[in-house]
């Protein structure tokens, strides 16, 4: 018991020291300029921030890697409502309908007749479906998939 206490104390001391020595500036809570549309982060930023160019053809594919590695950067421009538009717990309207005016060039999923297409996409790559519907937003699946 006593040895565990000492281990905890040493860990707490080490973490406190590491924290005190970090002295990094936090990523800003809110981007200083209001941005609209698909933002080209590389126009102003270099390094990994510049790599998050929203106009890049592969940004949609890679945005999960960016947010998983540094969610605070995403939070400077996006509230969680932005994530919830697609990665929702429950949702009534598919994103391509809800944001019909905002940006037709955006990679919004499920455009057109998705009732038929989901059978094809689901067989081609069910992993892509499961990322949003595996454990969330899947109550309507039960209508047919009992």
């Amino acid at each position: 018991m006593r040895s565990k206490f000492y281990i905890l104390m040493v860990l707490a001391l080490a973490l406190s020291t590491l924290y005190a020595c970090a002295n990094t500036n936090s990523i800003i809570r809110k981007h200083p300029e209001a941005l609209a549309g698909l933002t080209a982060c590389s126009e102003c930023h270099e390094s990994t921030l510049g790599a998050m160019n929203h106009q890049a053809t592969d940004f949609y594919k890679r945005h999960g890697s960016f947010s998983g590695a540094n969610p605070q950067v995403c939070a400077a421009c996006h509230q969680q409502s932005f994530c919830s538009d697609c990665h929702s717990h429950k949702e009534g309207i598919k994103p391509s309908e809800k944001f019909f005016i905002d940006a037709p060039e955006r990679n919004l999923p499920h455009r057109g007749d998705y009732l038929t297409q989901h059978r094809i996409d689901g067989r081609v790559n069910p992993v892509a479906c499961a990322k949003c519907h595996g454990r969330q937003n899947n109550e309507r699946c039960k209508t047919c998939h009992r």
Binding site: S26, G50, S81, E105, R123, N125, E139
Partner: protein, 446 residues
Amino acid sequence: MISHHKKSAWSYFNFTRILGAVAAASSLLATPLMAADNSSTGYYSLSGESDTVFRMRTNIEKNNIYPIYEYLHFDLTKTLKDGSSASFYLGGWGRADLADKSTDKYTDGDLQYGYLSYRAAKNNVVINLGRQFVTEGVATERLDGVYLHSDFAGGFGAAVYAGKPVITEPNFKGGNVVYGTRISQSDSQYYTVGLSALKSERENNSRYREEEGLDLWFHPLDQIDMTGRSTYNSITGGWMEHAYALSVIPLDQLRISADFSHVNYYDYFFNMTASSFSFADKLIDPNEKLTTAGVALSYLPIKNLTVIADYKLYNYEIARKAEYFGGKVTYTLPQSFAVGIGLHRMEGKADHLRYTEYRAYASKQIGRANVYVDFINLEYNKRINGVKNSYAVTGAAGYQFNKTLLLGASMEYSRNPEFDSELRGLLKITYAFDTRLGEGGRKNEK
């Protein structure tokens, strides 16, 4: 058996209970933020958006339905003079069907997120408490709980989270508690390497999910960027997924993107909550392994004009392979004009994986108005329900009355294997606000 009336009442009760809980949580959690004296310690900002959406459509049973939705989200933030901030975020939606009240689903709603957040000016310290969406390595989870993050010396960073998972369980029970961590080491200029783990348990403390992952982000040059992740399932003892993507920009006008992934279905689809993703329903073969490899070339011959060619190979261990390839040309003037045409072909060995996809869209800003038209057509090699072409045409228009108020409407006509002729309408009113209460009570509103 419960009558429709009783079900409806119960559903209405749930809906009002959610709204009531949201309102109560808002007032309760916002009070400490409002209590402090802002003239000496910083300023408050309150921003939010309301989206009211009215839809007109026919459901699969050929009944007309007219659901109305209200999406609401806002944040109240107090920014302190040292740069740190305390915020309360809230977002959710409610729906009621104005025409069909015959089922217990004619009203619904959801609290998407609602949490208190503290962000320090130094060391990227973040403390979140409440319903939130956590993305840290292997975790892409919504939970009712706590999230902590901090930087440490030597480029290290750590995040921990724990709570009750917010999931839907239409067919199978999920975990009762979820917790995890991610430790990273990075140089913001060049790279980030992360190790993460997630564990979820059922009510009886039995193992539900145990996932570990390695994530990488390399940016050795401005022209080269690579991200990727490998995820391991400790319960099944196998790799769930390897997914890596590379971008190379050899010229200012040319971008080459490549991606590779490998998924073991048994390890990946272990313990999902919907039968459509379960092995029992036989839609997912646990012995299947999928490997994908893709490449895309994006070229800008002149400013705002983009020409894209892409190819993706889907190779299965059991099913027969498929290839998806095509191209797209877009011309975009930001906030003014956009037009694009695309043509893609899915060429698989199975009949259902042979189709051609066409898309054309255009949008134009005219003063305060915005008009938009979109056409999508899928031409199947083998007819589905006797239909060779499945197409949808959407026309939409919006009008920005001022910085806070936008009114939009859309109409979609489609013909597809499920509907000989389907017409859908949608009206949307967006009201956004952003108010700042500065030192001395100065108020700015946009």
